[in-house]
């Protein structure tokens, strides 16, 4: 391209509209501590912050790069271990009162986690990134299993079954953050959450972020243009590992303990679950997913022993009926609002939501009946006021009624949408 004037001058992308979500989230992060005061609420908020960063870093791979990974927790866990060991170094150094680590604040630990996660991805990643798809999924699955098994094998690094423990109230205090209470830790989490989300959003705006979308959509074509898909995948893999490590370091500061289990398939599955529930196609999807799944996991588990089953069922329902996830749904509503079509489409959506609720009610009755039949009364059944006896037909009848009503509403919805279309 010799004639540079033929290219339209690049306009400044700055707009107040684009800035709005960031200002709003900053305000929300500032206001939350004024509204809640209980320690448990802060504990939950801190967990949500960790999971948001974890899910977003996972989505850099799956949603933006098209690489389905079953081993993302390896980078989360390694970042966590690195932060843990550095925390212990700070403890020792500040006890001696000298050395580099004596001046390193705990506030900076996520950078250590980021470095560790990125370094781990740099070391193992190159052979993995040759192909996306099933090969990548299987090799990351193998990596996760290997790392979890190795974690048990080297107790001096990974602490064996008991894991590594540390104390976050060490080293120099910055901004007067003592990090004693979970309300204190909240400010740490809020800061790093904001920085990490901003960083990951900025990544999607870089040429590399754009290339990663291209390699997801059509790797062959990208290769034809002259980019190596493998290089692009590798760089995205490293970036994603780095942000995963950052989330791990946040977890290290929050829990002050890390065990080799956090390297395995279960936490990797959690990242996938959160990202997919929230929606892989929208940037803020995993944020929504992380909030919903974390809330469900911790709130439901207070009331029912079948909480994982409920989360699994919601995941299945979203994969089957709403493949774009919750974030995709929000985006749909937003677009309809922008185009002024909300009033026309809202009735169809609302009646669809009624159908979903009816199905959910039927499934809940089914699960609770099964639970009661095998293990006795579940607390959730009491909360919802379901005192069915599984030996009597009433509960089963209620389930059938819910499902039948759900099918009827679904049919009516389909008809309504066809008429409106």
């Amino acid at each position: 391209m010799n004639d540079l004037t033929a290219v339209a001058p690049r306009q400044s992308r700055f707009s107040w509209r684009g800035l709005a979500p960031w200002v709003i989230s900053l305000v929300v992060l500032m206001v939350i501590p004024l509204l809640v005061s209980s320690g448990t609420a802060f504990t939950l908020l801190n967990l949500i912050a960790i999971n948001i960063v974890f899910a977003l870093s996972y989505n850099m791979l799956l949603g933006q790069g098209g690489m389905l990974s079953f081993g993302h927790a390896v980078f989360f866990g390694l970042g966590s271990y690195a932060a843990m060991h550095v925390m212990n170094l700070i403890d020792d150094a500040s006890y001696a009162g000298e050395g580099f680590w004596a001046h390193f604040p705990v506030l900076g630990l996520p950078l250590v986690g980021m470095l560790a996660g990125g370094l781990a991805a740099l070391i193992v990643g190159w052979p993995f990134c040759r192909r996306a798809g099933t090969a990548f999924a299987m090799i990351t699955l193998g990596l996760g299993e290997l790392a979890a098994a190795a974690g048990q094998m080297f107790p001096s690094v990974f602490g064996g079954e008991a894991g590594v423990v540390s104390n976050r109230m060490v080293g120099p205090q910055w901004f007067g953050l003592e990090l004693a209470q979970s309300a204190d830790v909240y400010w740490f989490m809020a800061f790093w959450l904001f920085v990490a989300v901003l960083g990951m959003w900025a990544f999607t705006r870089t040429p590399l972020g754009r290339l990663s979308n291209a390699v997801r959509d059509n790797a062959e074509r990208l290769q034809f243009i002259g980019y190596q898909p493998r290089n692009v995948r590798f760089m995205v893999f490293i970036a994603s590992g780095a942000f995963g490590g950052l989330a791990g370091a946040m977890a290290a500061v929050n829990f002050e303990i890390i065990t080799p289990e956090s390297l395995g398939l279960v936490p990797s599955g959690l990242a996938l679950l959160m990202a997919a529930v929230g929606g892989l196609g929208v940037f803020y999807g995993p944020i929504v997913g992380a909030i919903v799944v974390t809330l469900m996991n911790s709130l439901l588990s207070d009331y029912t022993d079948a909480s994982i089953l409920y989360v699994g069922l919601i995941f299945l329902a979203i994969v089957m009926f709403a493949p774009r996830g919750l974030g995709g749904g929000i985006e749909q509503v937003r677009v309809a609002w922008r185009d002024g079509e909300l009033a026309r489409r809202l009735p169809g959506w609302l009646s669809g939501a009624v159908a979903v609720l009816l199905f959910a009610a039927g499934l809940t009755v089914l699960v609770e009946l099964l639970f009661q039949w095998r293990h006795g009364q579940d607390e959730l059944a009491q909360v919802l006021g379901m005192n069915f006896d599984p030996r009597l037909p009433w509960g089963w009848l209620a389930m059938v009624v819910f499902f039948a009503a759900g099918v009827l509403v679904k049919r009516a919805t389909n008809k309504l949408r066809e008429d409106n279309a």
Partner: protein
């Protein structure tokens, strides 16, 4: 030493055959959908639990037939009402669906049968020794399990290679549209293949349940190993899956049996290391659970199409 080798060989072959019962169904389903069924090991677990529950009422032998049929019905329903819906959304959606399904099946099993292992045992008539070698008994059930596995392979081979249905399946795997144009109901055929693959996994569960333990974690322990088998053997290749199953079965069993550490081996070849160090003190038995995954990573790096696969995954 000889008895260790012979028994490790027998156990390794039996474990390998069990793995092949799972990986053969998984391979069939993979060739059909182009996606690994993440819930395959969950169907294996369902087989074991169904056989346990049925066995209490009708005995072991009838449940040997009935439990896999039940699993096949569950599998066919999953294909008809779940996977077929998700198929339009592409491969990742299908994989996510089977991943979520594995979660749900695991939790339903926990819900119905509890979180602790159930007492699913081989029938009393099969618990006496089949033969006695060097004073160690080899139980009749292991022999019968091996026999069932071998019979199943012969039946599978006969079905796929010698019958009209097998011909249709093989044709539909490679040229689905053409088979459809010829007037066959390809979606129904796929549903049957999915059910059949699940039945094979269920049968593996019926005989694997008493050999290993019947507990809600059994799918999670065996599942990843079965994927390794399919990838190492070469995706979509039945003979490849067979050799890879035996290879991994034998490898794991021999590693468990060998009582030596890495340090012992290094010292044996003339290097002078501390046999109790953190790395050198690791015994091969400790490494046994990792061997499939080490093999997987090596294969994917050096021979991505697997032992006998034609295409790279």
């Amino acid at each position: 030493m000889l008895e260790v080798i012979i028994f490790s060989l027998l156990n390794g072959i039996l474990y390998g055959l069990l793995l092949f019962m799972l990986s053969s169904g998984l391979t069939l389903i993979f060739s059909m959908m182009g996606v690994l069924n993440f819930a395959h090991a969950s169907f294996y677990m369902l087989g074991a639990y169904f056989a346990y529950s049925l066995g209490m009422h009708i005995g072991f032998w009838p449940s040997l037939i009935l439990a896999p049929i039940l699993v096949a019905v569950v599998g066919a329903l999953v294909e008809r009402f779940g996977l077929r819906r998700v198929h339009v959304n592409g491969h990742v959606a299908e994989l996510l669906f089977t991943f979520g399904l594995a979660y749900v099946i695991d939790e339903v099993v926990r819900l119905i049968w509890g979180t602790v292992p159930v007492a699913y045992m081989a029938p009393a008539s099969l618990q006496q020794p089949l033969f006695n070698l060097f004073g160690v008994e080899y139980s009749m059930f292991r022999g019968v399990a091996m026999l069932i596995a071998i019979l199943m392979f012969v039946a599978l081979w006969f079905l796929l290679k010698k019958t009209r249905v097998g011909m249709m399946i093989r044709a539909a795997l490679t040229h689905g549209e053409m088979v459809g144009h010829l007037g066959h109901n390809v979606p129904r055929l796929f549903m049957c293949v999915f059910g059949f693959g699940c039945a094979l996994a269920g049968l593996a569960g019926v005989i694997g349940g008493p050999l290993l333990t019947t507990e809600p974690g059994m799918a999670a322990t065996l599942g990843p190993i079965v994927f390794v088998v399919v990838v190492v053997g070469g995706m979509g290749s039945l003979p490849g899956a067979f050799y890879a199953s035996l290879l991994i079965g034998l490898l794991q069993t021999f590693f468990v049996a060998i009582d030596a550490s890495i340090g012992d081996i290094l010292n044996g070849i003339g290097m002078n290391v501390d046999p109790y160090g953190e790395v050198t003190g690791i015994t091969l038995a400790n490494l046994a659970p990792m061997t499939p995954f080490i093999l997987l990573v090596l294969i994917l790096i050096f021979r991505p199409r697997g032992l006998m696969g034609e295409l790279e995954p």
